[in-house]
Point group: C3
Chain length 162, copies 3
């Protein structure tokens, strides 16, 4: 159940819009105190830690027992079109999930934040089927101008992990 | 602790606004690999699966160990008034919870997305007391024009399940 | 693993904007049925219960097994400046976490709701480093005019608890 290897994901760009705001660290910490067992799972940071001026800001993935929390992912590159951005965001989610012992099929809950609700249908066209035949629950809202960086969509998720 | 019966919730309309965008499937899948035990709970899709052009889009409810995740619920019908919509959304949440072995009293966390913050007080009037005397934590934000469909309020939740 | 003492947090103001809408109760309920064990953790309301016209509205903190859910916290006081408000919100989160057997270092996931995305950088300046060297995952969106009360930022979180 526990991850026994140290994960050191490669340097990963968060996107142009955000890269201008903070750096992305390469340190990936694992709190192995969780070896105490399932009875009392400890937080494990197993994703990249994003830093702001060399100070830890947030992690890309955090594990707690059999639950994996993934940070909000955005697409901040051309073309600024919903299908392209949805594709990028889903690929970012998938990479983060697989890097940390989970998968798209094991995602439990997804939150989708659109920049514009008019992109709802276009997002769905790329989103559907991507989490297997037993998809996660989902909540979608649009936040006009509210997605950091230049992404048309941001997604985070909670997943099961073995 | 595990659900031993196959749950097949009846066909349920998600609402007029969304029904126009995608169909609602009637297949309710259960991943019974979770019988391995609590040590390593698996994701179980126990709610309706909403499809888009016959491709799975998201589920109404997903169980992971003793935690139940419920998809965002909206009200998309007349009258377009916050108290009526809050009532519909709460009833949708309750149905989804009870159909999947949980209850309003076992809800741990609720997220409320209002279309307009001016509806905060009206939403509270219907919301209060609905989750028993020991209510869940709650986070409320308004997303102007950001709730999919025509609902004035959308809510999702995470609940305990036996 | 279980909390064996009854927690009765002191009366805490939620903020001027919200205080006008509802009262804050002082009853802190604990569902000790969870003594059945980890196999089947029950919901435990261990934070303050916020009431609306003497009816339970939501709780400040709810525990489920080793997971602690914290309600959305806002700052609703002068000065209306993002760094001051971020500081207040982080202190509110910290107080709620520590009062309930957790800590900033054990936070797994944070959701940040800004009133204005222009405050993203200022929020980060106060946010960074506040959750230790292994920070939680984070999702940030801005909801123009969408944060209840007069807070420039609202945050909720999910944390590990011993």
């Amino acid at each position: 159940m526990e991850n026994t290897t140290t994960r050191r994901a490669s340097f990963k760009k968060i996107g142009m819009g955000l890269a201008a705001l903070f750096g992305v660290g390469t340190v990936s910490a694992i709190d192995k105190k969780s070896s105490k067992g399932i009875v009392n799972p400890k937080k494990e940071v197993i994703g990249e830690i994003v830093t702001d001026q060399n100070v830890p800001l947030f992690s890309g993935a955090v594990k707690h027992g059999n639950t994996l929390y993934i940070a909000g992912k955005g697409a901040h590159v051309e073309p600024f079109e919903i299908k392209a951005h949805t594709e990028i965001v889903l690929q970012e989610l998938q990479k983060e999930l697989e890097r940390n012992g989970s998968s798209m099929e094991q995602v439990l809950k997804v939150n989708v934040y659109l920049a514009d609700l008019a992109d709802y249908k276009g997002m769905n066209e790329i989103f559907r089927g991507r989490f297997g035949k037993n998809p996660p629950v989902r909540t979608t809202v649009a936040t006009y101008g509210g997605v950091p960086g230049k992404s048309l969509v941001e997604m985070d998720c909670i997943a099961a992990v073995d």
